[in-house]
Every structure is written in structure tokens, then in C-alpha cells.
Symmetry: C2
């Protein structure tokens, strides 16, 4: 049995392999080839924390994966990361434990950001370069890095806005130090009007900005909403978008960013990302379209990224 | 972080402590003090296997527990146990992993059998001594041992019936070697008519015997049904019982032994075991009652038995 901690996992991780596997996992999911367990949600109100369990199996593969991810949002004040958790892989032939990846949430953060960047690459205009990231936490950081790594055909300029201006400044400084172009922006409304790409990475429970600010031709990827009651975007923006894409319709309409628009309109049309990535369904049709993506996170991503670590460990052992 | 394998867990395990904690956990559950996650069920038809994930948190305690348990029923032919899995405990204050108990299903088998024995002790006649165990697998073995250990006020005689007569013979021989009184019985119908206590431990999907065979005053505990479509007892026996007790009504009526009777009668009355154990509700009222218990297994049991191992490990370390 493989038992790896976060530094070992980070050493074995290969970005390009993970991107390809997660890309393929979205397609497998959209095509109905992923068995997904109920999403478990435990809440610890007194500790300002929660825990999600996601699980699944991609038909025909060797292992099923159970992912435990927690967020305890007062942890940073205690000197601890807010994200935590592990990925567990089991043999789909015998149930034996194949791997315990004690990634402390790192693989979830990474697969979430890769998902966001894959969605943006698939749906933003070809000439989109101005990226507004809302939020300055760990997911904002991962999203910026994954967008830059996936969209190397253009020079992206990151604009960072966060309620905590000093966090936005820190993230910008760190991104610049890593070789990317980033500035913190003080005026959210002005930044939205100037953005080609908007990525929201907050835990908001009401819209972060008013409807009518996103300009034509922009692309929006909402990452934050992952349980009932969370919302980052104006409901009207979602309802009026040229195209709504999500990772899994059943999750998105129930507890993702699209829940609010879906409550208003039970017939709300959405397309799953895998169908866009496979080319089976058309994405952006003009430079005037406003495209909106809602990612709630799916077990297929967890399975895909876990499998890359297992394979890398097997490869490292064989060498 | 505590990381224990099955032999280490078995060494630290204390039966009496586990019985007390599981007893209390049923009460906490019935009284609404347990937050229970959705039960996850993954099925692997080609491998004749499945995997359940149960999770929960007892209000006011230090940790939440996620239990992964698989059953791959062709494993014995491969020289592997059919049950597998682990218990995971996390801090309810920070989400940090406190313990990985790689029990391979042993703690689940044990907490399931302790639950069965607690239910039988609470509801069987005070002079009930003739115990029929249906099934001769690992759970039949654990049930017999836990019944004997919990009901030391009387000498129990175990009668073992299984479709596989040689397995019934083996289990009887082993129980006798362990100091208990057991015989295999060839005629199931006759054995049912002679039993004071019947415990069913099979994966049956239709009743194991006909209605009308269980005599007045008997107690029946059904352990096997834990997903839609499973059933061990005649629907009429359940419907006509003097008292129906279950571990958790929402599970039992949906995917436990009581699902069939509940489909026929949506107003079927059931009592949760915790209310019987606390004395809040009355159990058996006469020596003529037929009492039936359905145990689907609840997260509170997993939390309770996991906590005993964590505490025992802390105690062992302190010494």
C-alpha cells in the first residue's frame, strides 16, 4: 500500500499529466462513465468548519477513490492551513487499500484550479488576456498559476481583488515573483468592467457585484459555491448568459453557483464541461457571448489526479 | 497522528468499554445528538463487490469519524477476506487527521455484532436461551461471541444454520472450542420453531423462511439488510410483530429489513433502539410478544468504537 504525505505527493506530481487526465475525466463524467457516490457534507458550526466526502469510480479503471476534504476557516489564525484532507484509492477488484495520499487538501486545490483553467481556456475569447481574480486565498493563487500555465499562447495580466486588500497585495507580489504579471486592484466594479476573464474564488453567500457590470465577450468561472446557500455571481448574470457550463448538472443546479438561477427557472439550460472539452457540444459562438462556468468539483477530478500520483509512484519505484 | 493496523487495533480493543460506548452512542443517535453524513454506496457489479462510506459526529465530542467499508464477495476464493476498510478520525476543531485505523473491516464487524447483542439483550425474554444464528460467515461468528459475552446471566445454546452446511459445522466446532455451546442444525424450519432468539446474518434478497414459523415470545434481530432490495425476514412477520425496533428509522425504512413492510404500510411504526436502551420507551411487554429488530448500522457506532481505540492508544502511550 502506498502511503504518501504532502511533500512526497508534490514531488511526484506532474502538471501536464494531471491536466490531461482531468480533461479526460470531465469527458468521462459528461458521457456517463463515472459512478459518483453521494456527496457527504458535515458541518461544524462552532468551529467554523466543514467536511466534504466525494467518491467515485471511472468505469473500467483499476481503482475507486474516496476524497475527504475539510475547511476550517479559523485555522489560519491558529497558524494552520484552512484546507485539509486526504485521497484514498482502493482496488475495484478486491476493495484492498491501494493508496493513502495525505495531501492535506493540496490535490483538491490543484485539481480545482486545473478545472477552472481548463474551463477558461475552452470558453474565453482567443484574445482574452485581462484576468480578474476575485479572492486572494489559496484557490485564487492556484487559479492564477494554472491559468498562466495552461494559456501559454498569450500573456495574461492578472488583476487581484479581495476584501482584504493586503492579501490581494501579497498574492500579486508573489505572482510577480513567480514571473507572472499581476497587480492588486482597489475598485472591484471598475475591474469587472475591464476584465476579459473573471474567476471568483470566495465563500460568498450573496453576489460579489451587481448585474450589468460584466462586459460583452467576457468569460466568468465561479469556483466558490459548493453547498446550498453559497453564491458569488448576480443571478441575472447567470440567467442571461449566452452559455452556462458546469462540471455536473445535478450538483451545480442543487448546490452550486447555478442554484439561484435554477430556483427561479426550473428549465434553466446548462451544458456539462466534458461535452465542451470533447467537442460534442459547441462553446463560445461569438466574441460578444458572455460565458459562465460553475465548478462545484467532481469526484472524477479526484480520481484522475490521484491516479497520476499512483502511476508516478509506480514509475519512480520501477526506475 | 495515530496510524494503526488490524493487529494493533485488536490488541488495544477492550470489549466492555466498546459495549458501553456503543450503548451510549445508540442513545445519542435516538436523541438527535448525532450528525450523520449521507451514506455513500458504490457498487462494482463485475467484481461482485460494493463499498459503503458512513460518517458522523456526536455533538460535543472531539472528533468526527468517516468509515469506509467494502465487501467483495468473491475475495474468499482468492484467499482474501471479503470485508475490508478503515476508520478515519478527524479533529472537529481543525479538521486535522487524528487517526487512521486500518482495521480491514474488523471494527465494523465488531460494532455490528455488539449492536446485535445489545438489541437482543434489551428485547429477548429474560429466560431466552435457545439462539438460532442464520448464516455462518464472519458476522454470524461475531454475533454468537458477542451474544455470549453480553448475556452472561444465562447459558446460551447456539444453533447454527447456513445454506452451506459445512460452514455451519465449522462455526459450531469453533464456538465449542472457544467454550460456547453450539450445534449445526440441518432443518431451518424446525430450528426457527425451537428458537427463543433468532439472528439473521445473510445477504439475502428474499425471506429466508416462511411466515408463521416464529413462535410467540421469540425475539428476532435482522442484521443483513443494508441496501435497497435486501430482505431476510417474511414481510408479514415484520408487519405483525408486537414491537419493531431499529437503529435509525430513516435508514431502516429506506434500505433496511423494514423497507418491505414499510412499502406496504407507509405508517409502519418503529422505535429506535436508543430509546429502548435509555428506558425512554418500553420494549417487550410480555412473554408472548414477538419482537423484531432491524440493524442497518449507524455512524454513531463507528464513532464510538473508533474513540475507544484512540483513547486506548493514548492510555497505552501515557503509561
Amino acid at each position: 500500500m502506498l502511503d504518501l504525505d504532502k511533500p512526497q505527493i508534490m514531488t511526484l506530481f506532474d502538471f501536464d499529466t494531471a491536466v490531461q487526465r482531468i480533461h479526460d475525466a470531465y469527458i468521462a463524467s459528461a458521457e456517463g462513465n463515472v459512478q459518483t457516490g453521494e456527496v457527504v457534507h458535515l458541518a461544524f458550526a462552532e468551529a467554523n468548519g466543514d467536511c466534504h466526502v466525494k467518491s467515485g469510480y471511472i468505469a473500467g479503471t483499476a481503482s475507486y477513490v474516496i476524497k475527504i476534504a475539510s475547511g476550517f476557516y479559523d485555522n489560519p489564525a491558529k497558524g494552520l492551513p484552512s484546507s485539509n484532507g486526504m485521497m484514498l484509492a482502493f482496488s475495484a477488484a478486491t476493495g484492498e487499500t491501494l493508496a493513502i495520499l495525505r495531501d492535506e487538501g493540496w490535490l483538491t486545490d490543484m485539481r480545482t484550479a486545473i478545472g477552472g483553467a481548463l474551463a477558461t481556456r475552452a470558453l474565453a475569447r482567443a484574445d482574452a488576456t485581462q484576468v480578474l481574480i476575485i479572492g486572494a486565498g489559496i484557490q485564487a493563487r492556484f487559479q492564477a498559476m494554472c491559468h498562466a500555465k495552461l494559456m501559454t499562447d498569450r500573456a495574461l495580466n492578472f488583476h487581484i481583488w479581495a476584501r482584504n486588500a493586503s492579501a490581494a497585495q501579497t498574492l500579486s507580489t508573489d505572482l510577480n515573483a513567480a514571473g507572472y504579471s499581476a497587480i492588486p486592484v482597489p475598485d472591484l466594479n471598475a475591474a469587472i468592467g475591464a476584465a476579459d476573464i473573471i474567476t471568483t474564488t470566495t465563500t460568498a453567500t450573496k453576489p460579489l457585484f451587481a448585474d450589468g457590470l460584466v462586459r460583452k465577450g467576457s468569460h466568468v468561472t465561479a469556483i466558490g459555491a459548493d453547498c446550498p446557500g453559497k453564491q458569488e455571481l448576480p443571478t441575472k448574470l447567470v440567467a442571461a448568459a449566452s452559455l452556462r457550463v458546469c462540471d455536473m448538472a445535478s450538483q451545480s443546479l442543487h448546490h452550486g453557483e447555478f442554484q439561484s438561477a435554477h430556483r427561479n427557472d426550473a428549465s434553466l439550460q446548462v451544458t456539462e464541461l466534458g461535452h465542451i472539452l470533447s467537442g460534442e457540444q459547441i462553446g463560445r459562438t461569438s466574441d460578444e457571448d458572455i460565458t459562465v462556468v460553475d465548478l462545484t468539483g467532481i469526484a472524477a477530478q479526484d480520481i484522475a489526479i490521484t491516479q497520476t500520483i499512483i502511476d508516478a509512484a509506480a514509475g519512480a519505484k520501477a526506475q
